[in-house]
């Protein structure tokens, strides 16, 4: 018995880490804030093959499982990849689109659609159809890289088997992993800053007020990750399999949000400026914590299951 990422998932994550170290810097994210769709980043992602993680090999994908998927999403979160990363990865298995990064797929919502402004295609899962090219009425958002908008445009019905449930579940799960990556990045920034920032003659990271608040927040993320792993593992004997992704999203949303609060406070005024990078990851965290279902909504799913399953 072994509980953890299999070697292939670890290898994928490490490879992606190297790609993103140069392909997705804070400058890249700031570019997205200014409306750049980051085509070069997506080409890199495409040539690395990550877009096709969940696409069968006979269709040119990597044909990997969801453990590799969450490993990739966590790493993408750490880099703060702008644009519909999770959405594209969960959509491509259902669509007949290129896997080279030229297709960026947003997923349509009843209200405004996240990443609509940067998407080449919009996947309307309810009607199982694809909108291309999308026409977007953009909205102002706190995280400007989110590019929310109302979507219209020519729509084509899809012939592929309708797997709304799978897309919904994978979207929440991948976003949970992405959130934990964002949290890890914010913790790293905070540790680095509080180690060197001196006040009262000592590094502020040596104060228990900073240490203990940060540790309590990190505990939340450390215990959310195994929930993500279990949701991705699909243990056939797991009677709770159907709600694992909800548990993962609920825990990751709360944990990552708490990390964003604590890291901002630990930084003091510097964290409160847009010139410093922390806000890029904090604001994405706030958006994703409520995207693909809020923590409260996913806990309600778990509660219903516990009631019915008696």
């Amino acid at each position: 018995m072994y509980f953890g990422l299999p070697d292939e998932a670890v290898a994928l994550r490490e490879g992606l880490r190297e790609v993103l170290a140069t392909a997705c810097t804070p400058a890249t994210i700031r570019g997205a804030w200014d409306g750049d769709v980051c085509e070069s980043l997506w080409k890199e992602l495409g040539s690395f093959g990550v877009a096709g993680i969940l696409v069968p090999e006979d269709r040119g994908g990597l044909g990997l499982d969801e453990l590799s998927f969450v490993a990739a999403c966590e790493q993408a979160g750490y880099a703060g990849v702008p644009g519909p990363f999770v959405e594209t990865l969960v959509s491509l298995p259902e669509l007949d689109l290129p896997l080279d990064g030229s297709a960026r797929v947003a997923i349509k919502r009843d209200g405004a659609t996240p990443y609509a402004g940067t998407a080449t295609h919009v996947f309307a899962t309810r009607t199982w159809s694809l909108i291309h090219p999308p026409h977007v009425d953009a909205l102002e958002t706190v995280d400007r890289s989110r590019q929310l908008g109302f979507v219209t445009g020519p729509s084509t019905e899809l012939r592929t088997p309708q797997r709304q449930g799978l897309v919904e579940r994978r979207g929440a799960l991948g976003t949970a992993a992405f959130l934990l990556g964002l949290a890890r990045r914010q913790v790293d920034l905070t540790v680095a800053y509080t180690r060197q920032r001196t006040q009262f003659g000592v590094p502020i990271g040596s104060f228990q007020a900073v240490k203990h608040a940060l540790v309590d927040a990190v505990v939340g993320t450390q215990f959310a990750w195994p929930a993500v792993l279990q949701a991705a593992a699909h243990d056939p004997r797991d009677v709770h399999a159907s709600i694992r992704s909800s548990a993962a999203k609920a825990m990751a949303s709360d944990a990552a949000y708490q990390v964003s609060r604590v890291c901002l406070q630990a930084h003091g005024a510097i964290g409160y400026t847009v010139e410093y990078d922390l806000h890029l990851f904090a604001k994405r965290t706030w958006a994703l914590a409520n995207d693909w279902g809020t923590a409260e909504q996913h806990r309600a799913v778990v509660a219903r299951h516990l009631r019915s399953e008696g």
Binding site: V142, D143, G271, T273, V274, E275, T294
Partner: protein, 368 residues
């Protein structure tokens, strides 16, 4: 317990309510942008012309000589009517109390009326790149020269500095001194040669912050507020009123809770808690004023006050954003207010510093 307002207090409240409801401009843009700031100035001048800008000041300086109770009533009515944040607040709420306490007659006569009428716009010069929570670590110098002082150094995190005309702050006037010794409180016009202001953006994207650089900037002796070398004590008086009720009048939170009640899908249990908390803050403030007027003010009480409002402000906005769900990330007064609220536990002395103060001064726990 004599909570009932006197007839004159009631009359004052009624007059303020009527005027505010008739005149408060709704939907002003943020005052922390260049365009917004100009519109806010119009509003400030309107307040001044109707003598509502500084109600607690003497008539001679443009006020109404209102009691602190009347001031609290005015603030309640101001926010209940949807009044915007005061772009003049650093001057009228933070510097003015210090001027009244430490200023010369001439300083008061010249500076206060121009402040009340928003001709002079004041920003703070406390923090420096190396001195945040640890304010006593500041290194900006003012060296004595004939007829005044020559300033060198840098201030930062200066709220609305890019839009202000004057700065008040602490400078080291005794180069041999350390920590909170040898500091002097100076009043500096930002158009003084050698002073450079660079605005930069806050978390919410507005250019609400500024860095202020001093290169051999000369200020006259009359720029000294309080005695030379006594700056720390003078500044602490301001810091006191900053942490105290003049920074955040309860009316802000009771008004926010009333807005929360109109948000659909809000958690009722948490809304009840929010209402109780805003009320508790209002009542705590009344108690604090009563204690101070009776000479029973408690050490660390203003830190308790700051800890509570700063965390309450965040909770109130989290409650709204949770109800908005997926729409919470859209630009809105709630998402804007949430980002603004996040500054509460950081500025005016981080909450970590406030907890130390309460622990040591109110509870009597050992410093080391």
């Amino acid at each position: 317990m004599y909570l009932t307002e006197s007839e004159s207090e009631q009359a004052f409240r009624a007059e303020a309510r009527d005027w505010l409801r008739a005149n408060v401009p709704l939907g002003l843009p943020s005052g922390d942008t260049a365009d917004g700031f100009a519109l806010h100035l119009d509003w400030e001048k309107k307040l001044y012309d109707a003598r509502w800008a500084v109600v607690s000041w003497p008539q001679a300086y443009g006020g109404r000589g209102a009691s602190v109770w009347e001031w609290l009533a005015f603030e309640e009515e101001y926010y209940a009517a949807g009044g915007p944040q005061r772009v003049t607040q650093n001057g009228i709420f933070l510097l003015a109390p210090t001027l009244f306490g430490f200023g010369t007659q001439e300083q008061q006569d010249t500076l206060l009326p121009r402040m009340a009428s928003a001709q002079d716009l004041w920003c703070q010069g406390w923090s420096e790149p190396g001195a945040g929570s640890d304010l006593a670590a500041l290194t900006s110098r003012a060296d004595k020269v004939d007829g005044g002082w020559r300033i060198n150094g840098q201030k930062t995190w200066t709220t609305r500095g890019a839009f202000c005309t004057h700065l008040f702050g602490l400078f080291r006037t005794d180069s041999a001194s350390e920590r909170h010794h040898g500091l002097t409180y100076l009043l500096v016009a930002l158009d003084t040669p050698g002073v450079t202001v660079r605005g930069f953006a806050r978390l919410d994207g507005d250019e609400g912050f500024a860095e202020v650089f001093f290169e051999d900037a000369f200020v006259p002796d009359s720029a000294v507020l309080g005695g030379v070398g006594t700056g720390w004590n003078v500044a602490m008086a301001t810091a006191g009123s900053e942490r105290g009720l003049t920074l955040r009048s309860p009316g802000r939170y009771t008004a926010t809770v009333e807005r929360l009640r109109t948000v659909s899908g809000i958690d009722e249990d948490r809304l009840a808690q929010a209402w109780m908390d805003a009320e508790a803050y209002r009542l705590f403030t009344l108690q604090q004023v009563s204690n101070e007027q009776a000479g029973r003010g408690r050490a660390g009480e203003s830190s308790l006050n700051k800890l509570f409002w700063s965390e309450l402000d965040i909770r109130l906005h989290e409650l709204a954003l949770d109800a908005l769900g997926a729409d919470a990330e859209l630009e809105s007064p709630w998402s804007k207010g949430f980002q603004f609220a996040l500054a509460g536990p950081i500025y005016a002395g981080t909450n970590e510093v406030q907890r130390n103060i309460v622990a040591e001064r109110l509870l009597g726990l050992p410093r080391k």
